[in-house]
Every structure is written in structure tokens, then in C-alpha cells.
């Protein structure tokens, strides 16, 4: 199978070029067109984006999302690779589930799927899952995600075991006892709204604990790698910055919703803004942006967390947490922060950044590299229209906003995974 994309530019150049893809790899640039030809409409080509944190809800919660809808949404967002979280029903703690998900996804023709598996059996935080078998089955990361790791000893064991396998342990860093019944950031807004607050210390205290555990393991020679998911507070970011300066093997991700929204959004009592960790303050958002710039933050992840409309129409105490927006993450980031961060840095945070922390080969557009790429329209403003979403969650905080940077074309393994009509 051969495919040539013409009329495209690379992000660091103004030259109009073409690229030919063959047998799943990049064959060459500006060589005579072969096979099917697609007009890239003058768009900017980049390696396909990598998402390290998405909830695709399969198996067991396919009313919210499934592999087909979630991976199609990812491809529409310019993503070529997605790591899905294991908090499904049943939990992804069994090698057979990992294999079946990978097999099913590979036949869909959308983004590639790399499942994360549970760190502990049933994500109960009590006994390690079969980490070695899970890795062999294709799991790329271990996490108990939103179940948080209340038992510090078990997390320590997991970091140690996974470290010996060269695997990342990612954590939803939040002390459940400090969170208590909190449904939004604790502060003047939560008090004004009469909603139970979740203090920033819930995140920073947990990050501090986990960093101490990691430092102790390193001192004993362990290669353990701790990845902190969806960092949301200025203080926790500061702790990670310090830990990196000490040379700890810690990485972290930040989500666009924590950069673009604050707890003020809850004033209308719309549970569409309920997310875990919660939307914080502008001070936190500013600190996170600073963290993106200075390298404290390793990558941007979306924590794509679809729920049904009926679930998100419940009251704020009852509604589940999560926002699903994988298909507009790049346009949102590019429109809001493209000028501030620069295109190269933004792309790095969504391609090479996640690949580096996962120890994957650096995404590349050179001949011989995997033919996973995206063509972005950086100029045309388009309105966010949830009715067009591929995800089953056809609603979003950004509905009606004008954004630039929409993907025109996403290619995965040399095959068209998304093409804008």
C-alpha cells in the first residue's frame, strides 16, 4: 500500500513538499508520487500526536465510549497512539483483556491502542497484578488511576517491581482522606457555592509522599519510574520541579482543561465542569503553563473521560467526574497557547515528550520512520461543534468556541485514520 500526501509543509519550514508512505513507513520526501494521492491543502505536517491518558470505557461501559468511538475521536484529534486507562468493568488486570483490546483495536483502522494495565488486582490497591504477564501481553504502563494508591507500601512494591521490568507506574496523586467528599477545588468559590471542597494539599501531600518513596527506592538502586498524571496544582508542580532537580526518575503530565478552565466555571452548577482532579485557580493554571515552558512538565495528556449526557446532567454531588475532548485538544492548545509556547514546543509536548517518558522511539518524519502523521490546518478558524464529535460524549465546555489548528488528515501505519470531509 502506497500513499502520497502533497501540498504540505513541515512545522519548521515554509517549503511546500510531498511525502510518500509505503508499507507503513515513510518512504521519502519529494519523490515522484506513487499510489493514492491526497492533497494536504497547504497544511502543516507533524508526527501523529500521542495520548498517554484516555478512558475508552471498553470493556463494560460502552454506553459512555468504546474502542471504535474513542479511537476514531483520537484520530480526528490528530492522535496516532492512545494509552487507555484500566478502570473498566472488569478492570484491565488480566493479560487476556489486554490482548483482546489490542487485537480489536488493530482491526479498526483508527489510532493505535496501547493499554495501561492495573497496578493491583482489581485496582483494589492491595495485591500486585501479574505485572510481568501484563507487560508480555502488551500493556505499556501500570496504574490504579482514579482509585488512588492509598496503601503506600503496595505502591512502593509496585514501583519496585515495574521498575525492574522497565515499566512506568503512573499515579492519580490525591490523598483520598484529604479529598473526602470534595467535588471541586476548595477555596472561596467552593465556599460561595456551598459545594464540598477538595484542597490543593490533597494533591501536593500525595505527590510529596510518592516522591519520598521513589527517592528511597533510587537510593537502593531501583530504576523505578513514577509518572504523575494530570498535575493540577502549583504546589505539586513545585515538588516535581525539585524532585527532577534532585535527579529522581519522575515525570508528569498536564491536561489542557487545567490550563484553560478554573473553579470559577462551576458557578453555573453545570457538572460538565466536574473533573478529577478538580479545576483549580488561575494561579495554578499559570504555574502549570510555566511548567510546560521550563520542562518540568513532560507531556500534555487530555484525560479524555467520556460519560453519558444523562450522567453529566445530574447534580454536582452525584454526577461522575470527567471531560471528553480528545478531538479538540490540539486546536484548543494551539489557539490558546500556540503563540506563547510556540508550535515546536507544543508539538514536542504532544509527540516526542510522551514518547520520551515511555521510552518509545522518538517520533520522526524522516524516511524509514513509522508512517504515523497528522496534517494540521493552522490558519482556518472553525467553531467547536459537539454534534460532529466522534466520541459518544457529544458535549463539551468549549462548544461554540472558535479554534484554529484542526487536523485535516491523520495517518496511522500508512493508512488514513481520519480525513476531514
Amino acid at each position: 500500500m502506497t500513499l502520497t500526501i502533497t501540498n504540505i509543509k513541515r512545522s519548521n519550514s515554509d517549503k511546500t513538499e510531498s511525502v510518500t508512505l509505503e508499507n507503513g513507513v515513510i518512504k521519502g520526501w519529494n519523490i515522484p508520487a506513487e499510489g493514492e494521492t491526497i492533497d494536504g491543502q497547504g497544511g502543516t505536517v507533524a508526527p501523529a500526536l500521542i495520548e498517554l491518558h484516555a478512558h475508552l470505557r471498553e470493556p463494560g461501559q460502552t454506553e459512555k465510549e468504546d474502542l471504535a468511538s474513542g479511537l476514531a475521536a483520537a484520530a480526528a484529534g490528530g492522535y496516532g497512539t492512545v494509552v487507555c486507562m484500566p478502570n473498566t468493568v472488569p478492570v484491565i488486570d488480566d493479560p487476556a483483556i489486554v490482548r483482546s483490546l489490542i487485537q480489536k483495536a488493530s482491526g479498526l483502522g483508527f489510532a493505535r491502542l496501547h493499554p495501561a494495565a492495573a497496578l493491583t488486582k482489581g485496582q483494589h490497591g492491595e495485591a500486585l497484578a501479574e505485572l510481568s504477564y501484563l507487560k508480555d501481553a502488551g500493556a505499556v504502563m501500570f496504574t490504579d488511576d482514579g482509585r488512588t494508591n492509598e496503601n503506600a507500601r503496595v505502591l512502593r512494591l509496585g514501583l519496585e517491581y515495574a521498575g525492574s521490568l522497565g515499566m512506568v507506574v503512573s499515579v492519580h496523586a490525591e490523598d483520598a482522606s484529604l479529598r473526602a467528599d470534595g467535588v471541586m477545588n476548595e477555596g472561596p468559590v467552593s465556599e460561595a457555592l456551598g459545594l464540598p471542597g477538595n484542597p490543593a494539599a490533597g494533591e501536593s501531600a500525595r505527590v510529596a509522599r510518592d516522591l519520598e518513596i521513589l527517592a528511597g527506592l533510587h537510593a537502593q538502586g531501583s530504576k523505578a519510574h513514577l509518572h504523575i498524571q494530570h498535575l493540577s496544582t502549583a504546589r505539586a508542580l513545585e515538588l516535581v520541579r525539585g524532585a527532577k532537580a534532585r535527579g529522581l526518575n519522575v515525570t508528569c503530565e498536564v491536561c489542557p482543561h487545567h490550563l484553560t478552565l478554573t473553579d470559577e466555571a462551576l458557578r453555573g452548577f453545570d457538572a460538565i465542569y466536574k473533573v478529577a482532579p478538580p479545576l483549580r485557580t488561575q494561579t495554578d493554571a499559570d504555574a502549570l503553563l510555566e511548567g510546560l515552558k521550563d520542562g518540568t512538565v513532560d507531556c500534555i495528556a487530555t484525560d479524555h473521560a467520556p460519560h453519558t449526557r444523562a450522567e453529566k446532567e445530574r447534580d454536582l454531588l452525584d454526577a461522575p467526574s470527567g471531560i471528553a475532548y480528545i478531538e479538540l485538544a490540539f486546536p484548543l492548545m494551539y489557539t490558546r497557547f500556540g503563540g506563547d509556547l510556540g508550535l515546536e514546543k507544543l508539538l514536542d509536548l504532544m509527540t516526542a515528550g510522551p514518547a520520551r517518558l515511555m521510552n518509545w522511539p522518538a517520533p520522526s518524519l524522516e524516511a524509514g520512520a513509522p508512517a504515523d502523521l497528522v496534517v494540521l490546518d493552522l490558519d482556518t478558524e472553525r467553531e467547536v461543534n459537539p454534534a460532529e464529535f466522534k466520541t459518544k460524549a457529544k458535549f463539551t465546555p468549549w462548544a461554540g468556541e472558535m479554534l484554529r489548528g484542526w487536523p485535516l488528515l491523520t495517518v496511522v501505519g500508512g493508512q488514513v485514520a481520519y480525513r476531514r470531509e
Binding site: 457555592l193 459545594l195 452548577f269 447534580d315
Partner: protein, 315 residues
Amino acid sequence: MTAAPASPSARPRHLLDFQDWSPERLTAILDNADTMLQVLDRPVKKVPALQGLTVCNAFFENSTRTRTSFELAARRMSADVLTFAAGSSSVSKGESLRDTVEVLTAYKVDAYIVRHHAAGAAHLVARYSGKPVINAGDGRRAHPTQALLDAYTVRQEFGSLEGKRVAIIGDVRHSRVARSNAELLPMLGAEVVLCGPATLLPSDLAALPGVTLTSDPKEAVRGAHAVMALRLQKERMGGGFLGSLQEYADTYQVNEALMAEAESGAIVLHPGPMNRDLEISGEAADGARSRILQQVENGQAIRMSVLYHLLVGRD
């Protein structure tokens, strides 16, 4: 998502909290309650103002007192009243709030009175029904008719709220009554002091205009014209907020000794239901300073006035 700025001319469609209400409008509700109290003193306690309208008492959380007060208020205004109690309804079968409200609206309900355990639920009913909504208590957020009846009771005593100091003592953290009073009373010229043990007194409430916080009850009542004891939920003990109920009562109980520190003519308020001899002593509840039963009577008049204000003379 923030409310439009209040203007004296705009007539709010709902009473969810006081955000889009002006002091002038709120004063009009208090003024009109005088008339409603006169109606309640007549042998025939009924006016035809809401004839033909159907008001739904939608109580997703149990409350006998508030529900009864609203129900009587609506009936005395000649409205038809549909009482919906979540415990014995489709909600217990898993129906969503939106579906419930849409079904009730299809019965041609003209206005809702909503009590719910979640802050913001009254806002959701307003959004889903498109009908006027009176918030009868949403979680720990707001209970605006309670605050209005408290304001009315203080005004009745002193002629005006201007320059008056109201101390509210107890579990402020979990109290919608405290939050609504802290929002309303400063709008009408009064000063509010919130008081309770530090664990039940969120420091962020100090950001509200006209509101100060203290954990010292004597400091709270000094110069106070009205002292309100909040109900202490005994269940809170499980949350670890307090050492013991005895310790709480010894420190924060509104009693004769504490009232001796207040202004000489100061009155005692309580939103009910009371835990006698816990947050309030029997003597204080029944004594000459107590206006607790007056609050109950005023509550009905205030609710009649709010219904009138929201539902009469609107197309």
C-alpha cells in the same frame, strides 16, 4: 455563567439565591410580607392571588417544616399545590433529575419550590423546567426564604436592618441558612458575624462583603442585636469535626449567659428544628428574648410574599 448584574428595574424570575436581586426588590418582599401577616390574622386566611396556578413542592430531600410552610403559603394564595416527595417516587427508582422535572412540567406545573441535598440543584430545575423556581434549600448553599424571614424578624423588632449586628453561631460549614444570611443581611445594611469551632467555620467565607468570622462566641455576640443558633447535626460527630457534643455545648451554646454579652434588647433566633440544650438552652429558646415562634409565623408570610412577587402580574 455568572448572573447578570442586579438592576432595581429587573424583576428576577427565580429566587435561587440573592445574586440577581437588588436591595430594593428584597425590601419590597419584606414590605409585602406585612400585608401577608394581616391576611394570616383574618378569620378567612385566603386571598385569590394565585388562583388557577399550580405550584409544585418538589422535595428531593425530606423536610416537614419547610414543606408545610410553603404548602400553606401557596394554598393561602389559592394556588393548587402538587407535592412531590422523592422518597416515595420515581427518583428512588433511578429516574434522573432532568426526567423528573420534565415529567412534572408536562403536568402543567407553573412554578417549583425545590429542596435538594445538592448545591445547585434548584438552578438545574430552573434550567430544565423553564419555570420560576424558589429554592427551599439546596445542599449547604442557600435557603433564601429562611434568610428573608430572619431579616424580616430582625426588622420587625428594630424597625430597620441598617447598622444592626447579627451573630450566627454553630456549624457554619454545613449551613445553607448561614450562607444565605451572610449573603442577604449585608445587602440590607446589617453586619454579620459567623461563629463556630474552626473546623466548622470555613475561612474563605470571610471574603463575603459585610461578613466577619470568629471562633470566640463572646466576641461574636458583643454588640449583637440578634443571635442565631444553628442546628448542630449530630451526625457530624462521625466526621471528626468536634471533640464531643458536651464540649461544643459548653463553648458555643446560645444561652442566658452568652446573651448577657449581647446588646440589652438582643433577640434569639433559630431556624429549627432545635436540639434543645445542645446548640441552644431551653431558657434561651423559651425566654423573653426568643423570637423563634415568630420566625415560623413570619416564614409563612415571607413565602406568600415571594410567591406573589414571582408569580403575579407576569405574562
